[in-house]
């Protein structure tokens, strides 16, 4: 099965690295969508079918915490798996995010194998 993947990060470099890591991991992707912040991600999620969201936390306009909170308030979006990819390493923040329904947390710097494991765990792919 090929997945539709949304990557939310204000760094174009990181969006490219995540795409590359997913490609290297061997996961089949039908289409990548990209957004530089949570606000643009929300707009995109309301117009496109997305199987999984990878998001950073610290972003301008709308950060990753706000994106997760907003998705949780919308029936159409609340069941889409969200994976946080961030340089933040605080266990308090990670636990808070997991309690809000975030499925996994990837700390930067990461390795491509992480993504294969995440797809298998979250989507069974």
């Amino acid at each position: 099965m090929a997945y539709r993947v949304l990557i939310v990060d204000d760094s174009e470099i990181i969006r490219n690295i995540i795409k590359k890591a997913i490609n290297i991991s061997g996961v089949e992707v039908e289409k990548y969508f990209e957004a530089p912040n949570g606000s643009e991600a929300l707009n995109l999620l309301l117009s496109e079918w997305v199987d999984i969201v990878f998001t950073d936390l610290n972003m301008p306009v709308m950060n990753g915490f706000e994106l997760v909170d907003n998705m949780n308030t919308q029936d159409l979006l609340k069941d889409i798996p969200v994976i946080v990819v961030s340089s933040e390493q605080s266990s308090m923040k990670i636990e808070d995010l997991l309690s809000k329904g975030v499925r996994e947390y990837i700390k930067k710097p990461f390795r491509p194998e992480h993504f294969k494991t995440i797809f298998q765990k979250v989507l069974g792919g």
Binding site: E12, I13, N58, E88, Q89, S90, M92, K93
Partner: protein
Amino acid sequence: MLNKINDTILFEAVSQVFEEAVFALLEKSEDEISWDPDTMIASMNFKGPLSGVLYLCVPEEYSIEIAANLLGLEPDNEELEEKKSGAIKELLNMVVGIFINKVYGESQAYHLGIPSMIELSQSEFSKILSNSQAKVLCLDDFDNTFSLMAVVK
């Protein structure tokens, strides 16, 4: 907690990031750090029990090599010129994440800023170097020398 910001913690954070993200092995350099107008400087603030800013100062030529390694592109790829700033900012972002975790521990609440590129005049650069609250680390990967500076506010 101020004592926890030392060369060892800075070195561990930056060497982990460079090894894992750009496949560069670092060692501390004995070179003198000096201002250079061609150096690219990224800065990122952190707030918590201790607040401050980290600066990653990289020669422009090395920034292209870093971007190439980070993105898996050939060093002569034309895209690298526009990607080099983003690469330096992202490396600093990762360094700060690991550094803060080592200083505060995993259970402490803190806030991280967003990395940005800045320009420092020679006098501003010298002011940081002479700041008694600053920790400055000169590093090299055997071919290139660069620096990481932490200033507590």
